[in-house]
Symmetry: C2
Subunit: 249 residues, 2 copies
């Protein structure tokens, strides 16, 4: 009888795979191949939701795929500045890593599904830094949500020497005002319940008439609205755009 | 005998297709399908060069494809501020539009190959604005060169509330210094012969030790170098990065 030593098992690879902004044919050919071939997938989601990343790959998975849903223990219930927020998320990520480490040590590859691009404000980065010493990690870049948004808007975001600034709506209002005033082109993400503050900041910067709100970019219910006409409530995945007007022959 | 009236011919569609940063399997599934199916492709290139966009699709094209290479009449020979620069490029774009308009009026679809994302500092935008009244234009977003660069660097570009600033190295030195000092994460593009100025600006902003130069991201000869150790000459497609260090549990 032959006993396989644990050390003889090939260590699996973790693939952090960018899925793009939402339409399944906007993921890269490389991502498409990895997702369709995966025996193990993992993805983040809010408890009780199906998860945006998981929805993008609906209909693409093997029949025998094993799914590991990593459900955030907290989203907005504890303030980011509260030390309990960090403690809570650190423990959550540690649990995710334990599970993933078990899979790769058993020789399994795992595809971690990431909306947009994994290295651009993505949750995957929190796994990535913790996995470095545990397993090989490969990252597949993706089309960002903001590319999906400016494509949906039907106008280029930047020309010539335009400066592009990317801001999170979670920043303090005075920072938003200063930076919105001082850029040619603008992208604002993580809007959700910060929409009121963001509207005031755009107005204070004198740029209300240039701003567009894009909801569900690259998805079936995509919607592009001048900020002045937008509803008071917007989904988390909304993106605000101001298009650059730089040099053009 | 039946005579087909010109008005009875279906007008073709122009597809502005983002090819991503360089590896052919990093284009989207939608882009891959359009490129492989195209009867007519068009792409920009410098006279005498094969063209970066054209190289990405090597081996993917139909045998009976018709190629329209749009060769820039000028790149750095005339200063951008010189009125002749604009005149020269305007005439060039007008010629491209004439040719493309002839194709779509004859009912042909055309795939315009675009490095990266068509609406992010892309040459396609100059065709896009001129084609609006001539033919239906569909844009397929792509993975940007900067996503390719930060993936190559092996580290996330932005965390938490980080501010990301995207600059062109063609800007005046004092603007570069001010903006490099005032951002968390940084991407600088269009470097080429502006590398010396950019190095001075990064040093004056006190951020030399954080800066990386990425050459040929996502291609076989990809190279990531600390800015302090980089050569004095770098290709046009180089990208400078400073990674954000924002909040992380």
């Amino acid at each position: 009888m032959i006993t396989v030593q644990p050390s003889a098992v090939r260590c699996g690879t973790i693939h952090g795979v960018g899925l793009g902004p939402g339409a399944c044919d906007l993921m890269s050919v490389r991502a498409d191949r990895l997702v369709r071939g995966a025996r193990h997938i993992a993805y983040f989601r809010k408890a009780g939701r199906s998860g945006h990343a998981r929805r993008i790959v609906d209909g693409m998975l093997r029949d025998d795929v094993t799914e590991f849903a990593m459900e955030y223990p907290v989203t907005t219930e504890i303030a980011v500045a509260d030390p309990r927020y960090n403690d809570c998320l650190s423990a959550f990520y540690a649990g995710c890593i334990d599970h993933l480490a078990g899979l790769v040590r058993g020789g399994e590859d795992v595809v971690v599904l990431c909306e947009g691009d994994p290295f651009f404000y993505g949750s995957f980065m929190h796994l990535y830094t913790r996995l470095q010493t545990i397993a090989p990690v490969c990252v597949v870049p993706g089309i960002t949500g903001m590319s999906g948004a400016w494509t949906a808007s039907g106008a280029p975001i930047t020309w010539g020497d335009d400066v592009l600034t990317v801001l999170m709506a979670t920043l303090p209002e005075e920072d938003l005002v200063r930076r919105i005033r001082d850029t040619d082109a603008l992208v604002v993400m993580k809007i959700g319940r910060h929409l009121g503050k963001l509207r005031r900041a755009v107005a204070a910067a004198g740029r209300e008439d240039e701003a567009w709100l894009v909801e569900h970019a690259a998805m079936q219910d995509q919607r592009v609205t001048p900020l002045g006409e937008a509803d008071a409530v917007t989904p988390y995945f909304s993106i605000l755009l101001i298009h650059g007007q730089g040099r053009r022959p």
